[in-house]
């Protein structure tokens, strides 16, 4: 997984890095609520230089979906 993305997710949700896996969804994370979602959006936009639409923000409910949305925005997550 992309190192920067793991750092963002671990920081926002207060998780250990090894807990961040593509299968992780909002239901696995106790504090992944609307306010954390806003923190996540701000961090992703800052770290990856993208601007997320409201449709993207609502869809981002798992690590796999975040990966997919960032790739669609042209972010190279393999780097």
């Amino acid at each position: 997984m992309n190192d920067k993305l793991v750092t963002v997710l671990a920081d926002v949700f207060g998780l250990r890095r090894e807990q961040i896996v593509p299968q992780l969804t909002k239901d696995d994370v106790g504090n992944w609520d609307s306010l954390k979602q806003m923190d996540l959006v701000v961090s992703l936009e800052r770290e990856f230089g993208v601007e997320l639409e409201i449709a993207d923000i609502i869809t981002m409910t798992s690590v796999e979906k975040i990966n997919r949305i960032l790739k669609a925005k042209g972010v190279d997550l393999e780097a």
């Binding site: 504090n31 306010l35 806003m38």
Partner: protein
């Protein structure tokens, strides 16, 4: 005020913080009337308590219950406005795209049970205090959320307004010898807290609290008793929160 023999009405006293306050007042020798909407929980209370079924959001019901209590005991010395419902909903909920904004109905409902109820009960009881020239005490159970707590628009607004009414009434009623104070708990280990917050958030709150733990219901009850007993305490919002800031 001497608590021994004081006729004390506590709303929402059949569970949680209210029950701890009721027990503590009883232990100090007060005559305790518990008013609650939950008849099952009321039934389960020991009969050292005078138990009254009451919805504190209904002005007519509140007035007639209070009049009946005052007639029976000759006066009401203490009102503890404890009944309330902790309610969390952010203004914008990104996780619920079909209903993203805070519902106005739920906002009003939260204000009705946490704010209107305090006005309704205090009006009914203070009327009896004034008519019977009782130098009584009103204690409002506020919350640390009155400072503004993210995820709690309505509840924070209700508790902030309760604080404002507390100070207002302390000024208006002080000349009649009626005192009014609030006790503002932080995060207390009650079933309602456990239901409102998940384990991760509770751990986070404990970490933010200088004393590194949640409060105990008895510690809130202790503060309520102190605020009743001290005859020079008026218009105070007493924080009981382990030093946590939000």
């Amino acid at each position: 005020m001497k608590l021994d023999g004081a006729v004390s009405l506590i709303t929402g006293g059949s569970k949680g913080l209210g029950l701890a306050i009721a027990h503590r007042l009883r232990a100090e020798g007060a005559r305790v009337i518990v008013a609650d909407i939950d008849n099952v929980a009321l039934e389960a209370l020991p009969d050292v308590f005078d138990r009254r079924s009451l919805d504190v959001t209904q002005p007519d019901e509140a007035k007639s219950t209070v009049e009946a209590i005052a007639a029976m005991y000759g006066r009401i010395d203490v009102l503890v406005n404890n009944a309330g419902v902790i309610y969390s909903e952010p203004l914008v909920n990104l996780m619920n795209p079909d209903g993203m904004m805070h519902s106005y109905d739920r906002f009003r409902q939260c204000l009705r049970v946490n704010l209107d109820s305090v006005f309704i009960m205090t009006s009914a009881v203070v009327e009896q205090m004034v008519l019977r020239r009782t130098k009584g005490v009103v204690i409002n159970i506020s919350s640390i959320s009155a400072r503004g707590n993210e995820g709690q628009t309505a509840y924070s607004a209700a508790k902030a307004a309760v604080n404002a009414m507390t100070v207002t009434w302390s000024k208006e009623l002080g000349r009649l010898g009626i005192r009014c104070n609030a006790v503002a708990p932080g995060f207390v280990d009650t079933p309602s807290t456990r239901a409102a917050l998940n384990e991760t958030i509770i751990k986070h709150i404990e970490g933010l609290t200088p004393l590194r733990r949640l409060g105990r219901a008895e510690e809130i009850a202790q503060a309520v008793v102190a605020a009743i007993a001290n005859d020079f305490l008026n218009g105070t919002i007493l924080d009981v929160n382990g030093g946590v800031t939000i």
